[in-house]
């Protein structure tokens, strides 16, 4: 399956355009601030219904316009003309209303429409996945798992809903019995979130290691889920729920003092470590720029593999000027890896023709200036 057609209406500076994408993908060439990344953002919006750059929906509406709309048509790889699926998203600034449809039908929840495109974005900002705070890595896990693990998004939303209410009760200084009334739901939804995250990190640790060493051209790296709840020996969701309950009891004084819930998936992190000649380094604190970028790439490659395995098809790869900051050796190895592994559609952006490194001759060129694409 690949994205065959993209229709844009007032998404950032992209105006009104109707673009046909070749099955192999396309290289988009243009100077900075012409709209290259906006185009990738629009495509990925159809995957998660939010901006991968962290922009709010109202910031995506073109200046002076009230509504943006993005529509994508996906066709099967076998070349049949008939679209296999149509995904559309629109946002109205005034009513703050988002409308998502799949094949013309609005799903009961936006979450039901996630992941239809099966895309992964690689961007220079990804280095934040390694150097940023724990919340950046939690968001990464939450997006990957929402796209790949059935029931994850529901548990996460339930957990968040309960957490804000429990925190409000704590902040309000409500008696312990009232705060505890929220524990049942908090523990149940929180344990489901922790279990899914921990299992994913454990089962993907090896792939992360392999990708890291393939890109770095040498040593490997590890990732581990670090929970604020003691998970040693906790096997399934039941065990985790029990551990979480214990952790809440043990932290009750601290949370009353702080007026907020101090243990749970909202305080967890993923630790990325590098073994270097017997040394065990935390990449966030001690990694070099190159090592952090390599780890970030490895995380995106693991994400792509997860999507490939759970959705049963090659993910669409969106590369946002991604080789600009990698040294020569690393980018050669990433390219090799992508050429070997990713046979899906590739949409990449580059400032100059000479910066196109992947599928050098196979990809048609589009030029973009002031938001307008010229094939």
């Amino acid at each position: 399956m690949h994205l065959s057609r993209l229709t844009l209406r007032h998404f950032r500076n992209l105006g009104t355009q109707d673009l046909e994408l070749p099955p192999e993908g396309v290289a988009i060439i243009g100077d900075n601030a012409q709209g290259k990344s906006n185009l990738l953002e629009a495509i990925y919006y159809l995957e998660t219904f939010r901006s991968f750059r962290g922009a709010r929906d109202d910031q995506l509406v073109a200046f002076g316009e009230g509504v943006f709309r993005v529509t994508g048509e996906l066709v099967a790889v076998d070349g049949s003309e008939q679209p296999a699926a149509q995904v559309a998203a629109a946002y109205e600034k005034k009513g703050k209303r988002k409308k998502v449809t799949v094949d013309g039908v609005e799903p009961e929840r936006v979450g039901d429409a996630l992941g239809r495109v099966a895309a992964v974005v690689f961007s220079p900002a990804d280095v934040e996945l390694v150097s940023g705070g724990p919340s950046v890595r939690r968001r990464y896990l939450d997006i990957v798992l929402s796209l790949s693990a059935p029931g994850y998004l529901h548990a996460l939303q339930e957990f968040r809903k309960i957490l804000v209410r429990r925190n409000a009760a704590l902040k309000d200084g409500q008696p312990g019995a009232v705060v505890m009334a929220w524990d049942h739901g908090l523990v149940r939804s929180g344990a489901a979130v922790v279990e899914a995250r921990r299992d994913w990190v454990q089962s993907r640790c090896r792939a992360f290691d392999e990708y890291y060493s393939a890109v770095s051209g040498g040593v490997g790296a590890r990732m581990a889920y670090r929970s604020s709840v003691h998970l040693d020996g906790a096997r399934g969701e039941q065990d985790i729920a029990e551990a979480y309950r214990d952790a809440l009891v043990a932290s009750s004084e601290r949370e009353q003092r702080n007026g907020t819930t101090v243990v749970g998936p909202h305080r967890d992190d993923v630790v990325l470590r590098l073994e270097d000649e017997g040394d065990d380094l935390d990449l966030r604190d001690y990694g070099s720029g190159g090592q952090r970028r390599t780890a970030a790439l490895a995380l995106r490659l693991v994400e792509a593999r997860t999507i490939r395995e759970t959705r049963g098809r090659e993910p669409m790869i969106l590369l946002d000027d991604v080789f600009a900051e990698l040294d020569g050796g690393r980018s050669e190895r990433v390219l090799g890896l992508m050429e070997r592994e990713e046979t899906g559609q590739v949409v990449l952006t580059a400032p100059k023709e000479g910066d196109i490194r992947i599928r050098r001759d196979a990809l048609p060129r589009w030029r973009i200036a002031d938001g307008r694409v010229a094939a």
Binding site: I162, A181, D183, H184
Partner: protein, 197 residues
């Protein structure tokens, strides 16, 4: 402000009625027999003056006690706790329930500053305590929202030490809906709450 504008404004404040519908209702009353308008006005007046909360359970009532509490054939050893007085009507319409009610007047909602003090929790506990063991079971029929669930947990903790059995209204597949279209959570809960046949 003209009388027409005034009444239109009042109608428009009602749930589900926009300004256009409000105006249409006013025109209808103006065109129809004057007695129709008088009858409506009287009914609204009586509603305002005669309906009050039942002194025992909080249900809508025209007297000191509501029809359920005043009925000697209802089982006062069985109390069904609901969030709002409207929920009493929903359960009554099903025609199965023989016990009595208790209306909380809301649910635990810390984001709105609503704790047990703001709800009719103390009167409920007092009812159970004062019955001297006559209350055998309390059925908690709060909504299936996160607030309704937390309220149920809280009430269970408060009531159980007083003696009665505490149960939660079973949740399940809505009657008349295709299993195919029921979401996973509902199915999981229906399975977990299944009964032996």
């Amino acid at each position: 402000m003209s009388v027409i504008d005034q009444l239109t404004g009042e109608f428009a404040r009602l749930p589900g009625i926009g300004p256009k519908t409000a105006l249409r209702l006013v025109h209808h009353l103006m065109k129809g027999p004057k007695d129709d308008a008088r009858r409506l006005s009287r009914a609204v007046m009586e509603l305002a003056e005669r309906i009050r909360p039942c002194a025992r359970c909080g249900n809508f009532s025209e007297h000191e006690l509501c029809e359920v509490c005043a009925n000697p054939r209802r089982d006062s050893g069985l109390i069904c706790v609901v969030e709002e007085a409207f929920d009493v009507g929903a359960i009554e319409r099903a025609g199965q329930y023989r016990g009595v009610f208790h209306v909380l007047g809301g649910r635990l909602s810390p984001l709105d500053g609503i704790g047990p003090e703001e709800l009719s929790v103390a009167p409920l506990l007092e009812r159970v305590r004062a019955s001297g063991g006559e209350v055998r079971e309390v059925i908690i029929a709060t909504n299936a929202s996160v607030e309704g669930e937390a309220t149920a947990v809280y009430l269970e903790q408060q009531i159980r030490p007083l003696g009665p059995k505490v149960s939660r209204l079973a949740r399940g597949i809505p009657v008349g809906s295709d299993l195919e279209y029921v979401d996973g959570t509902t199915i999981a809960e229906a399975l977990a709450g299944r009964r032996e046949m």
